[in-house]
Each structure stands twice: as structure tokens, then as C-alpha cells.
Subunit: 446 residues, 2 copies
């Protein structure tokens, strides 16, 4: 006997978890498509040189790599950006620019596992490449907003910054030469105290005054209009800084014109996105009810996607939803449904003599667009109902021989433990309509 | 510069192909759910001993296997059945029986690549375990039928057999001892001539008379009722054979009662499903327009799913759609759409001064449930329309400054090259309704 177990850092999804993930994936597809983003797919396995080409030491260490039976050095993708860059370089002649794609797929990283982090997880990326238009930047923000709203997250904030604003402030302070170190320190805000960050900045050679100015910038808060004005002052005459401030202003105007509620999208100068390859707008998104979860959807604008694989410059902008982290967070606060069935109606199998009727009735319920499970064994009714309740069905349909004889049926609301009788007189359409109405009542509460 | 290329036997999906696959996956989810099957997921990587436990030499050879950084022997799953067996054994205490699951996921096999076959492909499995009820067998047939019909395949046939019928005929001929060899030979029918199969059977030690009887059985055709009567005679007094014939009859009755059209599901005694682990009903499905494609959806009943991992017996029944093979077949006969966008409406970006209006209008089109791409750059109209046509948009929305001033808009049917003017007088809802109606006209043709 072989012990049934999953690898360390990997896990199965049971029905309730898999349904929750499917629902978010469906929402992501719908939102991405509504803006004209089209799906693509790439292989899980790539030539190792494709994956390591741009990788940091960190990703190289985490890579699942091996030699295949044909002697090729291969690896499992660790993100969707590197395969997308390879894809664009390879198919560039076939892609209409600007090219808008989404990609929902698993990636693998052999990292040390933490709470809610696994060695296999899904990413939900979308990007627009082949254009430097600020409309594409704005659209990224709108898509992230629409996505989080459509998922049903009630209290979220999309926080924006622009790398050029940071660059401008560094310019003004004469610190352009050490921007990487400064960004790395500022990125710790939130995890470390401002004092600790100030100490780190000063130990890197900054004067106390400059460190304080940088911290003051990163900690600006309040209405975006006020923050933008303060940033305008801080970037001074730096041209790149002014461009960044204007870009943020344009995005804020745009989200208002597109009808977004006030306060959903704000400017937050502390957002730096670490050492990523972003060059313009950057974005993170946070849930109010899960403050420790970190950003669940992040992205930004970059100058060149595929420089390792093609000479053609491909600027772009995009973001990624961390779906598995979001799901882990929602599960932790009890926000995930525990229902184990995607069907709403449970049809009890009373009586073998009426099998033909059950088949006809359940077929018509499905034709009417409802999902119904027919229990496959004519066991005791109580046993069947117990299974239905455990799985989370909302409505049970009970028709025994007496009911068939009388042309009636029982509809049982399994949560409320109430039931009603339908007189359908052998007309299945009347029965199907009654089931439909009952489900509406259960869904809407009236 | 690194050459951008995919591994031998692997491929990217470009938007048109990825959309076609997404559409079939969505259909599969909808149909599976409509019967109460719930999704699960399992890791792509498993302990090697889990994967090789039941594997034939053939699958062992095709396995992508390696040692991970933690020194574990691991492999990429080569099907969804072995992980499902492991899953059931591992979580058996949490699963309500009968347990109905579907699993749509990629699998990897390092096999020699053929037309339409890749080393990474998706499987779409569904199974009911924990019951021996014939209703579950019938339901498998109904699900396969509903799935192929919902995908929009017009001419398909679901062909049924029962392993017990074959067993019964072998019983009657006194050949039970060599059933594996006989099954392997009979399974070649269709690829080899009946004469060649007869020669193989005889070279295995069968008399010419017995070989002829077996061939006659496997080649029975015509109305299922007639075929069943002939099988009834052939199984003679074999109890197992009679059970098999009765089971096939019950399924045929059931599909009729569920309202399926005549001739969609037929009995075909040549279906043996090779050396698979099936023990009862077996099923294959064929497309009339793609006769050389082989079965695109196959399955059957088995006695025990997870015997390698648990002592608890788990009988079940299920089938699998070969989605990538189906897509390759449809592409070959030109049945796949070449449209590269999931959106229907293309909004031309005429005039930067009206950006706010475009944002408001496209946001409302999306709120009304339509997908619209707004071109991100105010380029020449002809250029934008060219992109829209290439991507396969159906409708273009054109509103320049003159139109804004006049309160009008042009709606251009891009396929028919016709256009109409809408007077919306600044009321965006009027415009959105007009777009909705135009799309309806394009979709329905009137």
C-alpha cells in the first residue's frame, strides 16, 4: 500500500475551495474580456535558458529544473511574465499591436512555505504591450478596480504611485546615483518603522535632512489632491518628476470620468514595488478587512518587455491578481463559502418504478438552466436529505409514488427547513417553473 | 540575445486558439455542474511512487521525472485518474459519498509527437465514485451527450458496450482464460481489417470457428435493439453476460426517457477500451465529420479506483473529454473561429479633447454587459479600423468632434461593411441601447 500524500508545499483543492477559485477565475476572465483582453497560454515547461535569462539569484534558486529524457535542460515557469516575453518575441509577426492579453495559469517556486503560500500557485496576469499611451495606464487601473469590485470585495483601495515621481524627488535631492538602495529602503515602510528606515537611509550615506525629506514624501497621506500638490512641490524643477505627477493626475481624472467612486483609487507615494522593472505608474491594492495580507493585485508600466529575446522594443503596462493568496486570506476570515456542490436542486430518488419520471423531470430542470443532482440510489429519504444538507444544497425536490399519483411534489428549503407543496398535475413545466420561483425566493430572500 | 522558442512537442496558444479552448472548458464546467459534479484540483507534481504505482511500462517511460531540491523523487502527472485515486484515498473522511467530481487540468507525457498530439495537453475528467448504481452509469452517458451537444458538434455518436457482455461471450466460448489477448486483438478493429484480426486471434490458439464468432459479435451493427437481441443470443446462459446485456438495455431506455434524440447513443460491441481497467459499461464518442480523429470522449465503469492507496473499495464510473485533440481536429476542418478578440465592440479614439466622454461611454457599455475595446491612441481612423477588422471585431463605434457636437454616432458593422447613424442627443443610455440592438442584429442576422 502506498501512502496517499501530497508533496511538501503543495495541496489539493477540495470542492468548496475549487469552486471559490473557479468563481474568481471566471470573474477575472469576464472583466479582462470586457476591456478586450484576449487569453493566451504557454507551456508549463520552458528551456532553462529562457527562464534563467532574466532571473535573479533568488528565482534561480527557487526554480524547478531538470534534464528531460531528450537531454534538454528545462524548468517549470516561476511566473507568467518571462513566458509572455518569450511568447511576444516568438510570435511578434502575428500579434496586432497594441496587443492585449490575459493569462491565468499555475507557476511553481520551490520557496520556503509560509502561511497561505504554496510552491504551486496561480497567477492572473493582464498586460497591454506595444503602446506608451497613458490611456493604457488608466485602463490598467480601471481593470484592477472592476476586477476587485466584481469579485465582491467590499472595502478595497487601489494605491498608485509613479516611478518618475520618486525619480524626480531623488533628482531634486541629488540622489539619482543611489536610487536602487533608496527604493529598497523605502519599500520596507509598513513592515519596518519610519525610524528604522531613516536609520537605514542614513547608514547608506544620506544626510539626516535628505532622509527625512524622503520619508516625509513616502509617508504623505490624505486626499489625493493634497498629496499630488505636495509631490508637485517635492519634485521641484525635475522634468521627469513633473511628468510623473502629471501622469498620476491624469489617471485620477480618468477614473473619475469613468464613474468610479471617490476614494477607491488614491495616490500613495510609499508604493515603490521593490526592485521590479517598472518605469512609470505602479499600483498595489489592499483589502481593509485583511490589512496584513499585503497587496493582492499589483502592477505597473515597464519600458521593454522582451529585450532578452528580441531587438524590437515592447513597452507595456499590466498587473497581476494573486488569486491563491486572496483565497487564503478570505478563507482565514471565514469569507469563503463551504458549499460543496455547484448544483442548487437535489432530487430525491424515492421509487425505482418512477425512474423514468425522475429522468424526464431532471432533464427538463437542466434545460431550464438550473443545475440538479439526482441521487443515484433509492435509499431512505432521511439519508439522502442528510447528504444534500451536508453538501450545501438549497432546495430538495421530493416526489414519491403518492405524490406522483396525486400530481403533487414537495419542495424543501434545506437551510430554512421549510417546505411547500406544488400541484403540477403531471405537467412538468409547471413543476420546473415552481422550482425556479423557489430558487429565486431563496436567492433574494423574498 | 536568447532565441525565443518552445520545447519540442510543446506549443503556445495564440488568442484565437486560447479562446476556442476556453469556450469548450466553460461548456464542460457548465454541463458537469448541471448534474452536480463539483470541481477539485490536485498538484501538477506528485511523489514519483504515487505516479508509478499503477503505471504501465509505457507511462513510466513517458513520465517527466526528476529529483527536486529537497532530494525528493517527483514527477509531473501523466493523467488525472492517478491523482484522483490518491486524492480520494487521502481525503476519504471528508468526501460525501457518492462523490461526484470534475477536474480540468494539464497533464504531461514525453511521448513521440504526432499530428494534433503534444507533450502537454488538457484533460476534462468527470467521475462518480462510491456507488455501483446503474443510474450513475446512465448519468455518465447523459453527461457525455449533453457535453458534445453543448459544444455545438452537430453529428456525433456515443457508442456503448459493456465489458460483461464481452466476458459473457468469452465464457460461452470457453475462452475466459485468454480474455486479455482477445480484447487486445478485438481492439484493433477499425485500424486493422477483420481478416487481419482473425489471423491474429487464430495465431493465439483460437479455432477458426471461435475467432469468427468473436468477430461477428464485434462487428454487429444496425439498430441498437437488433444488436442487443443478437448479443442476448451470443451470451447464452452466461450470467455475467446477461447482466451486461441488461445494463446496456437499461441505459438505452434511460437516454430515451431523458429525451435524447434517437441514434445519438448506440450499442457497438466493438468498443473494448483496450487494456483499461474498466469492468462494466464502456463508452466512446465519435464525430461524423472527423472519422479519423478517434474517440474524443471515452470512459466507463471500474470496480476499484484507489486500491493502491487505501483498503476502502471505491467503485465508480466516469469519462474524459480529449479537449486538445478535439480542438486540433476542429482546426483541421476549419471549424475554429479565427477571431482574436473576446470583445464585440471597438471604440475608435478620435479626439483627445473628448477622452472623458469615451471613458464614460465605454464604462456604460461595459456596465450593460457588453465587452468593448477602446483604442488607446488617437491615431488615424483608417488605421484603427484596420486593427479592429484584423482582430475580428463585429461592431465599431465612431464618434468624432462633429458627432459629439451633433449628438450623433456612427455604428459600423465591420463584416458587412455597412453603417448606421444613431441620434443619441448626449444621452449615453440611448447610445448603449442602440449598440446593444445592433449587436443583436449582427448575432441573429435580423
Amino acid at each position: 500500500m502506498i501512502e496517499p500524500r501530497t508533496l511538501k508545499g503543495f495541496r489539493d483543492l477540495l470542492p468548496a475551495q475549487a469552486m471559490a477559485r473557479e468563481q474568481i477565475l471566471e470573474t477575472a476572465r469576464r472583466v479582462y474580456r470586457s476591456y478586450g483582453f484576449a487569453p493566451i497560454d504557454t507551456p508549463a515547461l520552458e528551456y532553462l535558458e529562457i527562464l534563467t535569462g532574466k532571473g535573479s539569484e533568488e528565482t534561480d534558486k527557487q526554480l524547478y529544473r531538470f534534464t528531460d529524457n531528450g537531454g534538454r535542460e528545462v524548468g517549470l515557469r516561476f511566473d507568467l511574465t518571462v513566458p509572455f516575453a518569450r511568447f511576444c518575441a516568438q510570435h511578434i509577426g502575428q500579434l496586432s499591436m497594441p496587443f492585449k492579453r490575459y493569462h491565468l495559469a499555475s507557476v511553481w517556486r520551490g520557496e520556503n512555505t509560509q502561511r497561505g503560500r504554496y510552491r504551486e500557485f496561480m497567477q492572473c496576469d493582464f498586460d497591454t504591450i506595444g503602446t506608451v499611451s497613458p490611456v493604457a495606464d488608466l485602463e490598467m487601473v480601471l481593470v484592477v478596480h472592476d476586477l476587485l469590485a466584481a469579485i465582491g470585495l467590499e472595502k478595497f483601495t487601489v494605491r498608485l504611485n509613479d516611478r518618475r515621481v520618486l525619480g524626480g524627488v531623488l533628482d531634486e535631492l541629488g540622489l539619482s546615483h543611489c536610487s536602487t538602495a533608496v527604493l529598497r529602503s523605502l519599500d520596507k515602510l509598513g513592515k519596518a518603522t519610519p525610524q528604522a528606515v531613516a536609520v537605514e537611509l542614513e547608514s547608506g550615506g544620506l544626510s539626516a535632512e535628505k532622509a527625512e525629506k524622503l520619508l516625509a514624501m513616502a509617508m504623505l497621506s490624505g486626499p489625493s489632491k493634497t498629496v499630488l500638490e505636495a509631490l508637485q512641490t517635492l519634485v521641484g524643477r525635475s522634468e521627469i518628476g513633473q511628468t510623473g505627477v502629471a501622469a498620476l493626475r491624469a489617471v485620477l481624472d480618468g477614473v473619475k470620468q469613468a464613474g468610479l467612486a471617490d476614494g477607491r483609487v488614491i495616490v500613495d507615494p510609499s508604493i515603490a514595488r521593490g526592485l521590479d522593472y517598472y518605469t512609470g505608474i505602479v499600483l498595489e491594492s489592499f483589502l481593509e478587512e485583511l490589512p496584513t495580507l499585503g497587496s493582492i493585485c499589483s502592477g505597473g508600466r515597464y519600458d521593454n518587455l522582451a529585450g532578452l529575446y528580441t531587438k524590437q522594443s515592447l513597452p507595456g503596462v499590466g498587473a497581476s491578481l494573486g488569486i491563491d493568496r486572496l483565497l487564503a486570506g478570505l478563507e482565514e476570515v471565514g469569507r469563503l463559502s463551504t458549499v460543496e456542490t455547484p448544483a442548487e436542486v437535489f432530487c430525491v430518488y424515492f421509487d425505482e418504478a418512477h425512474l423514468a419520471d425522475y429522468l424526464r423531470i431532471t432533464a427538463l430542470i437542466r434545460s431550464a438552466g438550473m443545475a440538479v443532482e439526482f441521487f443515484p440510489e433509492p435509499r431512505r429519504v432521511g439519508q439522502q436529505i442528510k447528504v444534500a444538507v451536508k453538501k450545501g444544497f438549497r432546495l430538495a425536490l421530493l416526489i414519491g409514488s403518492d405524490e406522483f399519483a396525486a400530481g403533487t411534489a414537495q419542495l424543501k428549503n434545506l437551510a430554512a427547513q421549510t417546505s411547500c407543496t406544488v400541484d403540477w398535475h403531471g405537467d412538468v413545466h409547471v413543476l420546473v417553473d415552481a422550482i425556479h420561483s423557489q430558487l429565486e425566493v431563496i436567492r433574494t430572500g423574498h
